[in-house]
Point group: D2
Chain length 316, copies 4
Amino acid sequence: MKTDGSDKIRAAILGASGYTGAELVRLLARHPRVAMTVITADRSAGKSFGTVFPHLAHLGLPTLVKIEDADWDQADVVFCALPHGTTQEVIAGLTKRLKVVDLSADFRLFDVGTYAEWYGHEHKAPDLQKEAVYGLTELKREAVKAGRLIANPGCYPTSAQLPLIPLLEAGLIESVDIIIDAKSGVSGAGRAAKEANLYSEVTEGIHAYGVASHRHAPEIEQGLSEAAKSTVTVNFTPHLMPMSRGILSSIYVKLKGGAKADDLRDALVKRYAGEPFVRVVPAGSAPATRHVRGSNHCLMGVFADRVPGRHRVGDR
Amino acid sequence: MKTDGSDKIRAAILGASGYTGAELVRLLARHPRVAMTVITADRSAGKSFGTVFPHLAHLGLPTLVKIEDADWDQADVVFCALPHGTTQEVIAGLTKRLKVVDLSADFRLFDVGTYAEWYGHEHKAPDLQKEAVYGLTELKREAVKAGRLIANPGCYPTSAQLPLIPLLEAGLIESVDIIIDAKSGVSGAGRAAKEANLYSEVTEGIHAYGVASHRHAPEIEQGLSEAAKSTVTVNFTPHLMPMSRGILSSIYVKLKGGAKADDLRDALVKRYAGEPFVRVVPAGSAPATRHVRGSNHCLMGVFADRVPGRHRVGDR
Amino acid sequence: MKTDGSDKIRAAILGASGYTGAELVRLLARHPRVAMTVITADRSAGKSFGTVFPHLAHLGLPTLVKIEDADWDQADVVFCALPHGTTQEVIAGLTKRLKVVDLSADFRLFDVGTYAEWYGHEHKAPDLQKEAVYGLTELKREAVKAGRLIANPGCYPTSAQLPLIPLLEAGLIESVDIIIDAKSGVSGAGRAAKEANLYSEVTEGIHAYGVASHRHAPEIEQGLSEAAKSTVTVNFTPHLMPMSRGILSSIYVKLKGGAKADDLRDALVKRYAGEPFVRVVPAGSAPATRHVRGSNHCLMGVFADRVPGRHRVGDR
Amino acid sequence: MKTDGSDKIRAAILGASGYTGAELVRLLARHPRVAMTVITADRSAGKSFGTVFPHLAHLGLPTLVKIEDADWDQADVVFCALPHGTTQEVIAGLTKRLKVVDLSADFRLFDVGTYAEWYGHEHKAPDLQKEAVYGLTELKREAVKAGRLIANPGCYPTSAQLPLIPLLEAGLIESVDIIIDAKSGVSGAGRAAKEANLYSEVTEGIHAYGVASHRHAPEIEQGLSEAAKSTVTVNFTPHLMPMSRGILSSIYVKLKGGAKADDLRDALVKRYAGEPFVRVVPAGSAPATRHVRGSNHCLMGVFADRVPGRHRVGDR
């Protein structure tokens, strides 16, 4: 995709002042084939990157600009880390020459009716939605390569779909009675100042939220339904707990057609054998979020339950 | 039970140097009808209580002694906060005049065969076991009052049985497919120095442990089976997370005979109406451990799932 | 101060929705001589107390009202936990019959010029200021008893003045070169949603803030100057660290006139001998904030330095 | 130093099971010029590296061996991350061909008498001690390059010496009345299971320890005395706080000969201008440990105090 004399892809980052954008910058800064040429952050426009992100001050990144001042000629690809809702209009306004990776929720749901139902407003770019590719790279690599507009999956949906989709596709588990009990760190809620995310509200406690009503449920069900070739409805219960990063999803499934826990493990090991960022932990050990903290790795493990016919899949 | 001239029950605390014992002392110190007359702590024997527990130094408690130096004539009731295994012998050696509340796991399982299977050694006081009352006070108040040897329930079993037993007794939920996804703070593992409980191993992370093999599973099943009048087997998955105190058990159950989530809530509200330490939170809100931190309160809530026929019960 | 038939003082709490107000309610709820009859919380007016503060739902407290709807006839004393700045006008509007304990910073500085300099606006009730008593109870008990308007000390100033004032009064330490290195939990910043206080910004880190510019410096200096009978200027450096509650002030002082560290300890032990909430820890041990967490206790310790003539005083 | 056909230095890591060793492995794994060829971990010998360190499982590192089974022919340099005390004998037994970087405290103090006084036993390799180079790389680069046995500085001494040595050398600060108030994360205490480092003992609290008696005091004084060309004695007070990694040292110094805070800042900026891992933060901002977490960066800032003649230097 090299479009200039160098061997690097030129990336524009929109919305680098949030946690998503800052983390993206941190990861891309270590990528040998990417040069960040444009970085926008509306509130901090005009400031040096290192002033706003002291931990990245040594990277020599460009000065922050407003989106309207971005020089798109300097970019081959645009990473969009803006709030959902506003993202649709920004992306609709970009020249079609640019490949776009959108980290918001704006293009994740294929059905704009489902989007409207869960996000509370009409989709603002339904035509673009048709073009969007759901970017669960490990399971959609060719589509991601070929697509122009990539909808980066949500955090919870990634943790649920990576283990479940291969198992549903292989017919090893039932598509009913799937229970996803997910525990998330706080950065997933973003950097916006909300009372619920204050240190004193979060430390030393845990609670469920969005029970039976979280927006990531339809995104999970979209992927699982495609894999099962039938409508899948899950029980998805997210919890907020005191850690900055990471998600642990404890997933309870029913085995199908005589499958054993080891069959599930084998299927996952085989499916992710060549993937650098996904790993099945050894039998008998459970994934721990501290083993992937600060990385883009995902761990998963499989345990047989004591109750015949009911097994447990854990992942990052 | 007043046996001396005063109106206070004289309590001996065995094993006050661990987290269980120290917390017991903290709670009893505020009890208007209890006087702590004997406190043992083998490693700290001879020291003043305030030296070992600076946060309780203002209580004027007796100097710590070894168990063998305890003056049992000074006590009406003995609270035993010793490690499991050793507890059986200590209690077997006490005069029968003393009422005993045992906080270890040693007398919780009625069946000494089940005890041997899960705890890895023969029960050392099978005759005493026959006498033991399972002390889930809210559900066994009369037996607890009448009994001489009370086996205080485990932490996870308390959080699972308080919401589930009334629902099973009322026939509102199925006794199969009960899934208990529990998240625990670290003090439940006790004060023993283990690498797994070091600050740097626990902070900012979460992981499951004891999957399908935790000793609290048979204790939970014992109580639920009694309530259901049939053998109940549960999926119980405990997780360790960064908080000192508290447990959140997210419990997934199937409704029975046309029951609705509101019927479950009503049953729990009614069952615990007169209980000072158990409260059902309002519909639509989820219990948070920070609301009971440092207290002996238990909160529980009920949510209907989006999937017909599958509902969720959460509690402390 | 009993003004009705009962033996309880009737207290109104203004601003119970913040951390200060909620904590005050928690402490007063356990006080045998206080009945909370009026509780205001503007944003939550009309709600039951237990809805807003689930951990205090069992206390049976009155429904929250707006300040303008408070029935002052129901109160003998008013505790004011409002933001500084607005407090002055609210208190100025209260009938003089009411005793007032103000927990904001509005009446702590005797000199309204100093107030204007540090708080950025003119004092709005300079006449009331003249009447105000600085409520460092352990050192001003008679004035606090006699006064009508009590200015409750700031958190940092309490931790600095309790150990330093007796030592300055006794002439045991120099009044120059006092260095106060203070580490604070996050609740001191209040419950307002600010990015700097988000969990992900605070956990697993520490930093100084307000260096040489924190508003508590003049408050500390006011108290120390009165004790030293000369103008005292301190080096005060606050730090924000990951804990909800508590302050540890490590204070570095120079000994005067041949005094030894033990003389300092003896003076503090003697000064606070009868005080239930202040305790000097044994020689050789250092105060830890976890020993006072959730209480209104203050611990202090004294260590001799290896450098002759320089000693260290630590406290909560 | 390339000794084989490749362009990589072959490194042996001794003691990779502790926090120091594991972190060293993490950093070296990203170094383009280093290949880890031997890794020892006595308790885990025979296991794959990824089993013991799941977060590094993707690195393809060699199987863990016991020290006595290490093949020294495979190494050019040895990094020693063993407990102090045992280190001296291990290093004494290595062939002199190997360059050694010792991360323990065993060779940091030039004077073996001082070592014996602070560490409680005679130095076991006094001849090797004479050869050792104190490896504060930014200030001793040429000696570190030339030396065979490098004593890696302690954590606190690094945070104190990096800002203070250039200022003492430049004559900008007095060599008396230096106060170092240091706040450390828990991993500095190592991975050994000690009650004091349990999660429940550390979370949500802070306390000083080793007051006027910490072993890093003589190490700090050794470096400062060399810089000042006179004996320097410091007040060094370490604190333990709830974070895994990082140290913040708030250092209070007196200006000398009319120097201003800006002169100190300028001297530090100039001194560390070419250093990739040390950075002076902009005037008015204070270093925060979260900005260097997980890296080997050190930040420092300088603030003028309100008290004339007394200034503050903070660093990581």
